[in-house]
């Protein structure tokens, strides 16, 4: 490689490295603000003021969903299995909404500590499989769980 080319390559590498470091540090500093949602634990720790418009992400706690008979109102509990946040929503839920499902809700906490959601979005994970495989995995999981529980009971 000729010297003037080596020099040009050096300048390019220098610019690219410098910019990567600068942008990396900026993103690291901003990382809290780029998060899409708060977790129920962050809410419980008082990071969110009542009335502030935020998003909360968590799982729909099993057995917590109560729907009204005469309207679209629904109440449920969002949890990260450490802390819970009660959610109230009136409107259409996504098809994937179900107990145990990951969700993201948009709205604000009222003074009673209930999250008034104006929008409910369903999260899905990165695992894809047929119902047969899912059933087999659940069966295997359930049997190993009951196996684990036997010594205690």
């Amino acid at each position: 490689m000729r010297p003037h080319r080596r020099k040009r390559l050096g300048i390019i590498l220098f610019i690219a490295t410098g910019l990567s470091v600068a942008i990396g540090l900026t993103l690291y500093a901003l990382s809290q603000n780029i998060d899409l949602f708060y977790t129920p634990t962050q809410v419980a720790q008082g990071e969110v003021a009542a009335g502030q418009r935020i998003r909360i992400g968590g799982m729909v706690r099993e057995g917590s969903v109560v729907s009204a008979d005469d309207s679209l109102a629904v109440e449920f509990v969002a949890t990260d299995y450490v802390h819970d946040v009660p959610i109230f929503h009136e409107g259409i839920l996504p098809d994937l909404f179900r107990e145990g499902q990951g969700i993201v809700v948009e709205g604000s906490l009222d003074t009673a500590g209930v999250f008034q959601a104006s929008r409910v979005l369903a999260k899905h994970d990165e695992n894809y499989m047929s119902p047969e495989v899912k059933a087999a995995l659940d069966a295997a999981g359930a049997s190993s769980e009951s196996h684990q529980m036997q010594p205690g009971t």
Binding site: L9, I34, P94, H124, N127, Y128, S130, P131, A136
Partner: protein
């Protein structure tokens, strides 16, 4: 070290003739992969336990989105070669890749939106993954318009090469956005060899065909537009005139 293999790429004529021989093979393999992949993915892949038939857009979205991340690294390599060695062919690649990349990024955003409206319940959300991919779309439009905005073609070529190198940083952000931050978008899937696990071969084998098909389509589009640009830039040269006379 012998650099002749590298300096051959400096000749547009050499590339034009060589790529003409590659094209039929590339088109043939793409048609084969696409036929196998799309029939398999759309008709024979088992329905997802959670998302049902909607999940099949996965076989379009994943290949398109993954190739859209290849454009900035490709343009950065070509741009570096152009800046350091002043190779004309490298600048041609930077120029033709930018609009192609914008199309592929737009397709990734659109297919993702269609998937999102049915599963998440929204077309769009400003989470880390979606926002950084939208930024890539605008960056690519930026490279396209930078070229036309600058009158001095040599200066435009250098500016585009530099912007391509800088734009690579965003690719890293897109890739790791789902791991670094809370997003609505799911993280990347870990595929499994075992048939009785999630993400087993019945899920990923058709995906491999679709990825090959889309990558080949990308290679074909890139070669075709590179050849087109070579002919336009070299239109006054002897070999192009002879080529036109012959046809």
């Amino acid at each position: 070290m012998d650099w002749t293999w590298f300096h051959k790429w400096g000749s547009p004529k050499w590339f034009y003739e060589l790529s003409g021989k590659w094209l039929p093979w590339l088109v043939g393999s793409m048609v084969l992969c696409l036929t196998v992949g799309i029939v398999w993915a759309l008709l024979f892949v088992p329905q997802d336990y959670q998302q049902g038939l909607t999940n099949r857009i996965f076989y379009v979205h994943v290949p398109v989105a993954s190739i859209s991340l290849a454009f900035f690294p490709l343009m950065a390599i070509a741009g570096t070669v152009f800046l350091v060695w002043r190779m004309k062919l490298a600048d041609v690649v930077v120029k033709v890749a930018a609009p192609l990349g914008a199309w592929f990024t737009a397709l990734a955003l659109a297919s993702g939106s269609i998937w999102g409206v049915d599963t998440w319940g929204t077309w769009w959300i400003w989470d880390g993954r979606l926002t950084s991919l939208l930024l890539q779309f605008f960056l690519l439009l930026g490279v396209v318009s930078l070229r036309t905005a600058l009158e001095d073609s040599e200066g435009a070529a250098r500016a585009c090469a530099l912007l391509s190198i800088v734009g690579c940083i965003n690719v890293v952000v897109i890739k790791y956005s789902v791991d670094w931050w809370n997003t609505l978008h799911q993280p990347s899937t870990d595929f499994s060899i075992a048939a009785d696990q999630a993400n087993g071969p019945e899920i990923w084998v058709p995906l491999v065909f679709m990825i090959l098909a889309v990558y080949l389509f990308f290679a074909i589009s890139l070669i075709l537009s590179t050849r087109n640009e070579i002919l336009q830039r070299e239109k006054r040269s002897q070999w192009v005139m002879e080529l036109v006379k012959r046809s």
